[in-house]
Subunit: 397 residues, 2 copies
Amino acid sequence: MHPRIGLPVVGMVGGGQLARMTHQAAIGLGQSLRVLAASPDDAAALVARDVMIGAHTSYDDLETFAKACDVVTFDHEHVPPEHLRRLTAAGHTVLPGAGALLHAQDKQVMRARLGELGLPVPRWAPVASAGDVERFAAGGGRAGDRARWPVVVKAVRGGYDGRGVWVVSSAAEARPLLASGVPLLVEEWVPLRRELAALAARSPFGQGAAWPVVETVQRDGICVEVLAPAPGLPAAVAERAEQIALTVARELDVVGVLAVELFERTDGELLVNELAMRPHNSGHWTVEGARTSQFEQHLRAVLDYPLGATGMTAPAVAMANVLAERADGPGLDERLHHLTARWPALKVHLYGKQPRPGRKIGHVTALGGADIAALRRDATAAAAYLATGVSAEVRHR
Amino acid sequence: MHPRIGLPVVGMVGGGQLARMTHQAAIGLGQSLRVLAASPDDAAALVARDVMIGAHTSYDDLETFAKACDVVTFDHEHVPPEHLRRLTAAGHTVLPGAGALLHAQDKQVMRARLGELGLPVPRWAPVASAGDVERFAAGGGRAGDRARWPVVVKAVRGGYDGRGVWVVSSAAEARPLLASGVPLLVEEWVPLRRELAALAARSPFGQGAAWPVVETVQRDGICVEVLAPAPGLPAAVAERAEQIALTVARELDVVGVLAVELFERTDGELLVNELAMRPHNSGHWTVEGARTSQFEQHLRAVLDYPLGATGMTAPAVAMANVLAERADGPGLDERLHHLTARWPALKVHLYGKQPRPGRKIGHVTALGGADIAALRRDATAAAAYLATGVSAEVRHR
């Protein structure tokens, strides 16, 4: 309990942009987020008052951090599961709990559990050799399946933003991956219409709340755009996606925000791809686009407050990530000048990072009427300008 | 220039809730607000990373603070004007400038200047004795005026939230005020329909932007509710109010947010009451209710960024201040639980203060369709519950 303000202290392990934006939301609730950051230059460490510098892989650091918190939560999935269990055993409140979080840390555990729950997942199997991959592609996963390449090999743990995922077309391609000794699984390659995300939150009390289902646009395995609500999604499919998210949250005893990344197959069926149990890139649009943002909702959930309303504040929202491409040319300050001059109604979120090529340094959100194409055009053009310092018109000429 | 993120550093003198909410907005712009706070328990000092503890009345503290800022701005008007001039002379960028800010510090300077500009102000005069007050009431202010009590005696400097304002009905009542030696002026008592506020912002480049005009509901001289847009205000009067704000901003060379508090007389005429050159209680509704909040806009202005769009995000918004009444009974944490259960779509802003009676500890905002009466009911009931820990139904039974 914070001695000065009489409110519980929430601590977040990880000092990235998710913690940064969670602190921003915490301020409104009378909170001041406590952050365990790896470096004082981390996105959240630049803006939060109560920052401890330490390693999320060190149990001692985690325990020191937890001692000054009423509840500990996370901006990533990288805390070792044994540390989570030990923190809990030591009497600290850890939310989501170790048992739930394991499903966002270990794809094999997650796939097996969702299968038990009867939820739709791609056909998959654990693999230990290139021969296993070949047998899977040849239809060994389930009786009656035809041999089919490519297949998708995934690291069981630690994959993120396209890392740890390989599309392979032969056993020969799979062999070097297997040789690495990293635990892997193999999945069918799913013919996609597009990717969707169903975002929900759940409190310890058991209250659940889902936001409208969104489309996530990927490039090289990284989310570059989010469209809310998912354009043209039949109501029954949207309802099904929300129910999947709420079911996963309930059955896995998730507390906090849960993001369920989904494949929409070309035949219209949904399959669960990944889970995240924290605020998620697919929910950044909620900061302005929903009555309660995913960051506020995550706090409400881990505080066991009643959850906030999840309705949209505008008919359509487009969010584009800013993936820095060029550090030369105009600096970030000058880029922001030009962006705000051209798009006075766009909402910009910068994470306090230098625009070094390849870094996710921010996002922009466009809100408006039902013309999602216009919103996408504005959001992506603005994001590209922040990323490069060169306007799209000039680049494309 | 911040060495790590390549963006200029904005410093705000004063660590109250306005600085707290400005820091919250700063995070989105890639900033981390530097704050000069009187105490580590100040509302902004609890949540900002870069806090200096010092006195806004000490030139040495101000200069030490300014040395690590690219631009210095304010969450109140209490920095002595001579310190502001000296900071500027020493090469620091101070926005709004000393010359502009003086009009928010000194009511006599403000009244005289607005009169010169032909802007509507109450009839007024400087006073040095109870006799001056009596002559003013007797019509000495302008030829042709009739004697009229009561009149309003105001401290030229330092009034705030109803302090420094006295309605007097006779020279005898005015005498003890004059005896205090505080510089005073006298004004006509204006027959009010209600109070309005016109909020605008201006950048050094000269760009101006106004938000919709609001009604401010006062109790004991303190703003308790704000209704946006002002219900039933004729379009021509709203336009006139916005033009007054933009004119004041331009003519006084204001940079940042300017709040113009207005009297709407029973005959429909507008008169300027007070000026503030900073984010203002009458603009708290803009956090969720306008595309660009007053806090973000103030930052954009003092950074000389182009200003953001000021349109509303909902047809109507009601904001209610939380003025703590009781510290006994349920604590703030428990009050927040109950509030969020009952009003899941309300937006709560707590300032990190203990709910000691009389303190402004937060505000709540209700957004919705055009039924402003329903929004007011929700906002005021929720604010009263946070203030007292007792629901209105129980209190009124």
